[in-house]
């Protein structure tokens, strides 16, 4: 019955393989930081500069701050971020699901 369990195995595989996502060079379109924009345009839009720093994430860009000097460090940080994210998201979704689900067996 629990094909779910097997699917969790694949989530673990994806977490381990996740540093492959670091190999793609460049930034997604429209997700440049102001340093990149400055290089591309020679200016940073005023409103953008103001709002950009609204929030400081704990693990910015799926990395451990200060532990992102080499590719190996970035890869470790990426896997740690993947584990943190998967655990946190699965937990929130599970608890919300428990709250919402019909309780018939």
């Amino acid at each position: 019955m629990p094909v779910y369990r097997k699917l969790w195995f694949w989530i673990v595989v994806l977490i381990i393989l996740s540093p492959l996502g670091l190999l793609a060079k460049g930034t997604a379109w429209g997700e440049w930081g102001s340093d990149e924009l400055k290089e591309m345009l020679g200016m940073v839009p005023e409103g953008l500069a103001k709002l950009e720093e609204t929030w400081h994430a704990l693990l910015p860009d799926y990395s451990i701050p200060g532990f992102d000097k080499t590719f190996a460090q970035q890869a470790v940080g990426y896997i740690v971020a993947a584990v943190v994210g998967v655990v946190l998201i699965a937990l929130v979704a599970y608890l919300l699901g428990r709250l919402l689900a019909r309780s018939e067996k």
Binding site: V3, Y4, K6, L7, W8, I11, L14, I15, L17, S18, L20, G21, L23, A24, K25, G26, T27, A28, W29, G30, E31, G33, L37, P45, E46, G47, L48, A49, K50, L51, E52, E53, T54, W55, H56, A57, L58, L59, P60, D61, Y62, A81, A82, V84, G85, V86, L88, I89, A90, L91, V92, A93, Y94, L96, G97, R98, L100, A101, R102, K105
Partner: protein, 226 residues
């Protein structure tokens, strides 16, 4: 496709939060009606899968990157309303913990990837599925259409900014690229790369579930048995 803070004006962000609040309320109500207790682990799984698949950045030939979302897959298994919740949770945690997508932009990002994507993807899938006979193909086409529609929405949100919000001297205040730049760039990345990845991943998982005789896991199969 995670719009960061600063690319959309605060007013644009407010519009999308205002749009998402009734959508989230409806999603909670509908999920309460349809989600079975034994599907709760599946909701967690779908949210986690969407999160982790978004970490796989794929190079786009123009020097940018893009990624799959997995939202149509979530809708195929849980229905579009529960998929909206699953992907929204992933997007909100991404913004809060990893700074991927802005805090101001949570409404817009959820509108694109947690609403437009799973609903359109699921609608196309259902239209093509023919009562379960073409499930894999339908899931691939549906997920391809879904992610591209989401990318198009993001492109429009980016592209209207320089038209609407300029300094008195005409300098863009937020996203500096208009529709003539944003639409080709976003659509190129998603039509050629991210959409293909999304279709392959969705098709593979649906194929796997079918092979494992897990027909009852498909949301529309359960609907038809009612």
């Amino acid at each position: 496709m995670h719009i960061p803070d600063g690319y959309l004006s605060p007013s644009t962000c407010a519009v999308f939060y205002a749009a998402m609040i009734p959508i989230w309320a409806a999603a909670v109500k509908k999920t309460r009606e349809t989600l079975k207790a034994k599907q709760v682990p599946l909701l967690a799984l779908a949210a986690a899968f969407s999160f982790v698949i978004m970490m796989f950045n794929v190079p786009v030939p123009d020097g940018t990157t893009a990624h799959a979302v997995g939202g149509t897959l979530a809708a195929i298994v849980l229905g579009p309303w529960a998929a909206c919740i699953a992907v929204s949770i992933a997007l909100i945690i991404q913004a809060l913990v990893f700074g991927d997508g802005g805090i101001w932009a949570i409404g817009a990002n959820c509108f694109n990837m947690a609403f437009v994507l799973p609903f359109l993807g699921y609608a196309v899938y259902r239209a093509l599925n023919a009562g379960g006979k073409r499930r894999v193909l339908a899931s691939m086409v549906g997920s391809y259409v879904g992610i591209n529609a989401a990318a198009f929405c993001a492109a429009v949100e980016f592209g209207v900014q320089p038209l609407l919000f300029k300094s008195p001297t005409g300098v863009p205040l937020y996203c500096p690229y208009d529709l003539s730049k944003s639409i080709p760039a976003m659509m190129f990345a998603h039509l050629t790369v991210a959409g293909i990845v999304e279709a392959i991943i969705t098709g593979l998982v649906v194929y796997y579930l079918q092979k494992a005789h897990q027909e009852e896991l498909f949301f529309d199969a359960a609907l038809e048995r009612r």
